[in-house]
Amino acid sequence: MYIAAFTWTEFAQQITAGVRQGAVFAGLALALVIIYRSTRAINFAQGEMATFTTFVCWSLMNHGLSFWAAFPIVLVIAFVGGVTIERTIIRPVENGPVITIVIVTLGLALLLNGLMSVIWGGGNRPFNGPFSTRTIDVGGVPISVQDIGIVAVSFVLVGLLALFFRFTKLGLGLRAAALNRDSSELVGVRVGWMLAFGWGLAAVLGAVAGMMVAPILFLDPNMMQTILLYAFAAAVLGGLDSPVGAVVGGLLLGVAITLLGRYVGFIGDTLKLPTALLLILLVLLVKPNGLFGRVAVRRV
């Protein structure tokens, strides 16, 4: 009865909110895809890794560093952390069944989440991000600098990553290692380190996503859990082995659930997650490898 009438201004603002959410989903989904391509498993600890590095950033800022001073330090820490995780706990189970890797990452998620509670405690913390919450006027619609900043950072990151994969030797090596391990090894690609590099890269992507949303969601150990669910959905939607799919899937999902939640009364806020799930299930039934995924041939 009290549903506000449709206005174009609000519609534009809702789209903005959707794109901003979608950009964060896309960042985390991309991290999932990179790990999937290197390890053939889903990293359930991706969300907690992101939150953990965001906490590191918070600690650095708490010690007087500005955001942009802390930012590169955090990225390095994230990268080293990701590589270390791959080398120490993923490597030994790498050739085991998928379920083993999945459970190891679940164990890692529990461990990191507990560790954050132990080190930093529960409760929400303010996180002063790099962007002001001020609004600017875009064609008559007030849009916050923060939203624009988050979307911009995400896009720049994705762009850099695309260039890296396409034009650098390291990037090519990574792609080769993901596509065909044995042949890559034969042509001299150090596959083991390539996979670790993939984990490092994913950790960096997660860290950026975490630092971008923390000013909006406020920092606590469970901050990325809901986001990770949507990132899973986005990655599956786009196809687990397709980076392009992850980005498109993330943006699509962000906009779709925002609009569905707002304009379809029955769905509202309560049924957003189930709706996302249902959409993905439908996609998977038609295209079992997602929208952009390659069809794998199974061997006996």
Binding site: I89, I99, I103, P274
Partner: protein, 340 residues
């Protein structure tokens, strides 16, 4: 072969005897705690049929437990046409409702390979809790449904705690024997063949679809029964009673206990109980280690330990849960309880 069968039967009988005398040995509240362990055990049994014998992964079994719990809550509190069903009789119904739900998930699951299935079932675990919130007039929303008090029926002389203990472990024993017979028989062998190589199994004329869906439905049935018992024991249902992390704990406990060692599952079930209800005690226990002084009221430590143990166990057994844990537990239990 015959010796092995005899040993297995003997083992089951010993377990039955142990279950029967246990309440005489422990306090009333401990019996109540053990009943809860039994509920997790039942859910793990179901999960082990699914994962251990058909190779499918489900990260959504908390949702099937919740379906069982809600079935019991609705039938006993709302009733059917005003007729309230006694909670005890709702247990098999709860199992069947969850089983049907499992069947419905099992059918699309056929088209999904391992990881996609893990993600979709995880999505189900997360999504299911929204249903009681959306249909709160019927299912109670966050304020939940208050069931009747746990009471011993039929004028039996047991305390309510012992009653729920015997009820749970009685059902657990029956379901354990059922699972044992199932695994020993043709369906079990078929499922194993599917787990080891789907394509090879299909080429030798096994109907993948039928068996995989059957396994899903059966494991959901077990989870539903467990959820129903849990709701009866707690006397309350709302979406937080079966939190999302429970689905994760179940899979992790399965890995810890051994995916196809039924007895190891009791260890896994106990681990879940401790993790959910005895966290402060775990921290206090760690404080006995030298140079450790943690505040037991500070959260997080139990998760750190559980996560670390999980990782270490899986790394030490690099060939995977299905193969290596069986080998590890082999000398202890597999010879008794699993047909390999």
């Amino acid at each position: 072969m015959r010796l092995k069968l005899a040993l297995e039967v003997l083992g089951l009988l010993a377990l039955a005897a142990l279950i029967a005398v246990m309440p005489q040995l422990v306090s009333s509240f401990t019996a109540y705690e053990m009943a809860t362990v039994g509920m997790y055990f039942i859910a793990l049994l179901g999960l082990s049929i699914l994962t251990g014998y058909s190779g499918q992964i489900s990260l959504g079994h908390g949702a099937f437990m919740a379906i069982g719990g809600y079935t019991t809550a609705v039938l006993s509190v709302n009733g059917v046409y005003g007729h309230h069903i006694r909670d005890l009789w709702t247990i098999p119904i709860a199992g069947v409702v969850a089983g049907v739900a499992g069947l419905l998930v099992g059918i699309p699951a056929l088209r999904l390979s391992g990881l996609y299935l893990a993600l979709i079932t995880f999505g189900i675990a997360v999504s299911f809790r929204q249903i009681p919130l959306k249909f709160d007039h019927f299912l109670g929303g966050t304020s939940g449904k208050v069931l009747s008090l746990l009471k011993t029926p039929f004028g039996l002389s047991a305390t309510p705690n012992n009653w729920i203990y015997y009820l749970t472990w009685g059902i657990a024993f029956v379901l354990l024997v059922a699972a044992w017979l199932f695994v020993r028989g043709k369906p079990g062998r078929t499922l194993k063949a599917i787990r080891d190589s789907e394509i090879a199994a299909a080429s030798s004329g096994i109907s993948l679809a039928r068996y995989k869906t059957l396994a899903f439905a059966m494991s959901a049935f077990y989870a539903g029964v467990a959820g129903s018992l849990y709701a009866i024991a707690r006397g309350f249902m709302n979406p937080d009673v079966f939190p999302i992390v429970l689905s994760v704990y179940l899979v992790a406990a399965l890995a810890l206990g051994g995916v196809d060692s039924f007895l190891g599952l009791i260890v896994g079930a106990s681990a879940i109980y401790v993790l959910v209800n005895r966290t402060a005690d775990v921290t206090q226990w760690i404080n006995h280690l030298p140079a450790v002084n943690l505040n037991p009221q500070r959260p997080g430590m139990p998760d750190v330990i559980f996560g670390a143990v999980l990782i270490v166990v899986l790394i030490i057994l690099p060939t995977g849960v299905g193969g290596a844990l069986r080998r590890l537990f082999g000398p202890l239990t597999s010879r008794l309880y699993s047909k390999s």
